[in-house]
Amino acid sequence: MTKRSVDPVDIEGKSDAQIIKEASAKESIVWERPENPNKRNMSAQQVKEIVASFPDKSPIAHVFVIDWEPRTSDKGTHAATGEKEVFVIGYWRKRFGQNRKYYFKGFLFHEKNIVGAEYQSAREDQK
């Protein structure tokens, strides 16, 4: 069976948050951590729901941290072809009137031909 080819994300003029959102809509891989009452780790479906609400325009109001750092892991399906830097995003929004903060860490794949995002960590900040 051949895999369907996916058009890469057009990154021209887009914010980092928007690129991550569009890449995630194409393919998302999430490392789901076990449930822990002290850490609100997110499931793959929860990541999908939250990332889909990243704003397309003026992301500054909601994305309060965006940072890139060198990736240290070179294992996994997309590690060889993925970007050499990991993104760290802090995202704020309201849900039913309550303030919520989320943190995501991961990397985009493939380098210069982005068709997905792998999340090494995704959690909601504790209140």
């Binding site: 891989i29 999430v30 479906q45 704003p55 294992k75 849900r95």
Partner: protein, 188 residues
Amino acid sequence: MICNHTSTTKKQITKSVGSQVFKMEALVCNECNALRWDGEIQGKFDKWLTTLPRDSFTVQEVKLPKNIVEFIEQKSIEFSGKKNRSAMVRAMISIWCNFVDRNNELADAVEREYDLKKSILAQDRYRENVRLSPKFYIQVRAQAELSEMSMQEFIVACVERISIAIMNEGEVKFYDIKNRLSDIVAAA
């Protein structure tokens, strides 16, 4: 310190949906026990969901205000020519999850409208069982968890807010919620 999942082993993993348990092999990190949920596992999970009895995806005893139920019935006749309360409730949840919740400004505006008008909600409640498709059930469950609500509470919250938004059409009228709802219900 955030784990980079450099050392992994293939292990059997489980995921529960109600009383049913999904089992399959996945890569698990030897250090932090995180499991790698990728497209292949998602595909198998989606396929497994379709094998479960339809009743597995019914949310029981959703307590909706009686005046909202009357409003929903009236609107379903207006939108589709027939009284179809279930289709309206599902459409309202879908509008919330796939449209309102994905637009921060709209979600905030809907919430402001709700805060202003929530006193109109009747105390008397009507108990509704809401049947969802398997994939929609998983989405609603994730949304409810993110909101720290039960699925019942989440559905009530969505239906009350969307009803108030289309009743009043205050600052949310430019987002066309009513027409979106009408299109979904007419097609149901």
